[in-house]
């Protein structure tokens, strides 16, 4: 249904129907603009490949491929037809490791980002909306988290909480939100100054209504654009923490492959495929999210596109 039709025949629609239709139209417009962004599409395709691989991992390689005891090939075997990405120090296929690792890296990256965005947006909007004591306190907390060096805090948290996938997600989530909170707070403050908030207050709107109906929709584009950029940082963080030996010992991720390769002396053995394969995967996924993030930012905030 074209927009002119919507304008001409809204009488048949209930208010809810109107909202739904409008959302669908907005989504349609967004996807159309996104399709016209070459870099965004490249990023999306690249990401799509990784997602398909991660989802299909059990179909390609059985879980037993990760089992050291069932590895039959020679250790540190260079890439060949049987082992396209060579083998590791225990004779496992590096391709199988990388494919299975994609599951954990993507999952941890996305989950940690969602956590970080939820915390960051909540704190950002609240500290921008509530002036005075509450806002000041939230602001100080944000500052505090912002100035603490991220890596030591993450290491301490990971040590205290123990080594598991959930804990890695929590650690990345609670250490990476302050930047988001700062950004959202600034945007909230500019929205708070708008007369439509004054109008909402005069209508009798409470804090919850003001924050969810007026502030949130106006900061959402920023949150979305920021999310895609933050995913790449989360994936890098997961890699870093796993490389430092703080990852989940029961699961393979790109970071833990790198760690294991490093520990096993892949560098002195000249086993470039061992470290190169997960490394390139991290770079490609980060690149994909960045390309998508820039494209989304450009569509949602046309002023940023020209920069």
């Amino acid at each position: 249904m074209s927009t002119s039709e919507i304008h001409d025949n809204p009488a048949r629609l209930s208010p809810r129907g109107i909202v739904r239709m409008r959302r669908r139209a907005a989504l349609h417009k967004f996807t159309r603009s996104f399709r016209h962004s070459p870099s965004g599409m490249v990023g999306l395709c690249l990401l799509g490949v990784f997602v398909v691989v991660a989802v299909a991992a059990p179909l390609v390689f059985p879980r037993s491929a990760l089992d050291v005891t069932q590895a039959i090939a020679n250790p540190f075997q260079p890439p060949s037809w049987d082992y396209p990405l060579g083998t590791d120090d225990s004779g496992r296929s590096v391709l199988a490791l990388v494919v299975w690792g994609a599951r954990i890296s993507l999952l941890v990256g996305l989950a940690a980002t969602v956590l970080s965005m939820v915390i960051g947006t909540t704190v950002g909007i609240s500290s921008g909306h509530f002036r005075g004591w509450t806002g000041g306190a939230l602001d100080r907390v944000t500052d505090w988290f912002l100035v603490i060096p991220y890596l030591p805090l993450a290491i301490v948290l990971a040590t205290v909480l123990g080594r598991s996938m959930l804990n890695i997600i929590i650690v990345i989530g609670v250490t990476s939100w302050p930047g988001t909170a700062r950004l959202i707070r600034a945007q909230t403050l500019s929205v708070e100054g708008r007369p439509y908030l004054e109008r909402a207050k005069a209508l009798g709107a409470g804090h919850y209504h003001q924050m969810t109906r007026h502030v949130l929709p106006n900061v959402t584009p920023l949150v979305l654009a920021n999310t895609t950029l933050a995913v790449s940082i989360s994936i890098l963080s997961e890699t870093t923490l796993s490389f430092l030996g703080l990852g989940d010992p029961d699961n393979v991720s790109w970071g833990s492959i790198l760690e294991q390769g490093f520990q096993a002396g892949a560098i002195s053995q000249g086993a470039w495929w061992y470290l190169g394969a997960p490394g390139v995967c991290v770079v490609l996924v980060v690149l994909a999210f960045n390309l998508i993030g820039r494209a989304v930012e450009g569509i949602l905030d046309p002023r940023a596109a020209g920069r």
């Binding site: 109107i18 007369p195 109008r199 005069a202 209508l203 929709p217 106006n218």
Partner: protein, 332 residues
Amino acid sequence: MSLDERRPAALEARGLEVAFRGRGGGGTAWAVDGVDLALGHGEIVALVGESGCGKTTLARALLGLQRPASGQVLVDGAPLGYRGKELKAYRRRAQLVLQDPTGALNPRHTVYEAVAEGLRVHGIVQDEEARVAEALSLAGLRPPERFYLRYPHELSGGQRQRVVIAGALVLKPDVIVADEPVSSLDASVRGEILALLLRLRDELGLSLLVVTHDLGLAWNIADRVAVMYLGRIVEQGPTEELLTHPRHPYTRALLSVVPEMQRLEPVVLAGEPPDPTNIPTGCRFHPRCPVVASGEAARLGIEERCRTGELEILTVSPQHTSACHLAINEGM
């Protein structure tokens, strides 16, 4: 239409004072400093003054958006309570229309959502669409369905202001406070919006307080005019009487610089309105008063009182008051 003595005013300020604590060593600013003002049922009152005179603060205080330091806001004769529930109930009855309709509408809300917002805030779910449609038609956006899905940026300035007005009307208020409702609109659209406000008063019996610096607007629609200077009402009375026979020198000066009033010799007051953190003694207008400056006040023997005596509000005629010693001295 005028104030009915037997029925309490729809909205009234009694001895209202609003103070802002100064920042960085500045003293307390008395933005509103003892205001008595009543708005009768079905009456249009124009609150006139320069920017910084406290007229917007007074309007906010009357709407309960600003808590007074002392004094009372009376709604239908009963003092306004500031507890959450009481305020929320009051918000249904008194609505605000802001100066800049572009800013007053959330750019991400459709017209329908903007108008329905009041209903949703107050949990009125019955016949939402019918109520929105009625409010839009009342505000002159017909047929209302055509506007439901429009975004503010797709509308003209006049249409946006009509949406804001519809958003105020949807809760069927008794009182609307409009802060410079037409000053950001194109000249040819102004009259239409003012005509709409007049029609709403006539058809719905709304009481309207219009905050403005524009005396032409007051002449167009107001029943009564209150002139504010430095936190206080210095003169108020019926529009015809006040604007054609002003008693206060400040009102006279304001009138004389209205570009359309070429028959008056312009009295351009020097300087800006003084600082509300530092209110002069005596009559607060005396440092800029042309009557004092020309020595006429001295000749009449009131200069001493102008400079030091605390000024009360003097009655010129039953409806017309003026806070100036001249008002009595001229012996009318």
